[in-house]
């Protein structure tokens, strides 16, 4: 009788201990900035929270040593979605506004990634359709890609009017 009563109490006690950290985490967790692009990550959020370091570590060796350039687990690609480029109004002003660092600081994790890796994407990322080597000079003149687009639209329109381009 006494034993069965004790046994009845075990699940209740377990539930209490399990829920305690979850309750504490609700209000006091790190303020992690929302991603600036995309609706969902390359894996479910719970999986990414637990295993992102494994994915990154696996990918870095494949990318550097073998030349496998997939984007799914690339650190550069993390930043493309999670951190705004320099000069952008959403760009992080200090480490607490940086997606990776906000959480690492909270968790007390010291990582070396950003001693070498860029902390922000560049506006002129190479996959951008506007950025080709020959356009660099024009881009420097135009300053911003929006103006650049307008310039192109204008020049194209004027050429079409004069019949230079068929």
């Amino acid at each position: 009788m006494r034993i069965s009563k004790l046994l009845q109490m075990v699940p209740a006690a377990l539930a209490l201990t399990l829920s305690a950290p979850a309750l504490a985490g609700d209000g006091a967790g790190p303020e992690v900035p929302k991603a600036i692009k995309g609706e969902e990550c390359v894996e479910p959020t719970s999986d990414m929270r637990r295993n992102h370091m494994e994915y990154l570590k696996h990918h870095r060796d494949e990318a550097l040593r073998e030349g496998i350039r997939t984007k799914q687990y690339s650190l550069k690609q993390c930043l493309e979605c999670h951190v705004a480029p320099e000069g952008d109004p959403q760009a992080p002003q200090d480490s607490s506004e940086h997606f990776c660092m906000a959480c690492h600081e909270y968790a007390g994790v010291t990582i070396d990634c950003f001693q070498c890796h860029a902390t922000q994407p560049k506006e002129t990322a190479s996959f951008h359709p506007l950025v080709t080597p020959g356009m660099k000079a024009i881009k420097d003149q135009a300053g911003r890609s929006g103006e650049l687009l307008n310039q192109f639209a204008e020049s194209h329109a004027s050429k079409t009017r004069t019949g230079a381009i068929q």
Binding site: R60, D61, E62, L64, R65, E66, G67, I68, R69, T70, K71, K76, L79, Q115, C116, H117, A118, Q120, P121, K122, A125, S126, P129, L130, T132, P133, G134, M135, I138, L149, F152, A153, H156, A157
Partner: protein
């Protein structure tokens, strides 16, 4: 495009890719990239293969004395041009440098760019205690900074003095080229561009087109054809390292 009725298949595909790379702003208005669209030689999920061996042929006859466009292009592309403000010129990173050669007897002088020669048998890889110094399957010699402990043994081993050590804490690295204090680095043959199907920055920026880049293993490539047609030399051929970078006219 229209005047050449004998378009080769490769050129035709290239033109198609150029069209595909065009950007539509508004209906009927399309902007095309100014330079040739780059087509990677393999899908992203495929590793580099030893069927290729990337190499360069530098024509020292074309290379102009006093011109250092390749050096500045490399520095800007990879972010080492002004990254260490507190270091002396001897300490600063130098992935590529211009060298003047003068024949003592005749007085004839040559100019040429000198960088990592991407050896087939690289001494830097032999001596590395952590396997950080490595040769990729397609012949590009790299430093895996995840493993580099900064011992600089490879710098001692390299007969071309091609490697540099970073002495200062760096910020604002290029996203495609991570660099950091306490590691060794050298010319990567712009591996990030090569994997995208583009040419290295020095090749692209040379105003004299003195550097030819391509696959040494492909007999149809421009570089392989040039190598069969012209005399070329490897620097310190006596060491038997079989560099991927060869020179004409020295």
């Amino acid at each position: 495009m229209s005047e050449d009725t004998n378009l080769k298949r490769r050129e035709f595909i290239g033109n198609g890719a150029k069209l595909a790379a065009g950007l539509t702003i508004a209906p009927g208005v399309v902007v095309y990239g100014l330079s040739e669209a780059s087509v990677p030689d393999r899908p992203a999920e495929e590793p580099a293969s030893s069927e290729r061996r990337w190499g360069m042929l530098v024509d020292s006859n074309k290379c102009a004395t006093g011109c250092d466009k390749c050096v500045t292009a490399c520095g800007e592309e990879n972010g080492w041009d002004d990254s260490e403000p507190n270091s002396s010129p001897e300490q600063k990173a130098q992935w590529i440098r211009k060298v003047e050669l003068r024949h003592k007897g005749t007085g004839k002088s040559h100019s040429l760019p000198m960088m990592c020669q991407h050896c087939e048998n690289p001494p830097c890889v032999d001596v590395c205690p952590t396997n950080a110094s490595m040769k990729r399957a397609d012949g590009i010699v790299l430093v895996d900074r995840h493993r580099c402990i900064g011992c600089r043994y490879c710098m001692m081993a390299c007969p071309y003095k091609a490697r540099s050590f970073i002495h200062e804490t760096l910020t604002d690295q290029e996203p495609h080229m991570p660099r950091g204090k306490g590691t060794v680095e050298s010319c990567t043959m712009c591996v990030h561009r090569v994997d995208e199907g583009r040419e290295p920055a020095c090749v692209e920026e040379c105003p004299e087109q003195a550097i030819l880049f391509g696959d040494l293993n492909d007999p149809d490539s421009a570089i392989a054809q040039a190598l069969t047609r012209y005399d070329s030399t490897a620097v310190r051929e006596d060491l038997g390292l079989n560099p991927g970078v060869r020179y004409r006219g020295i």
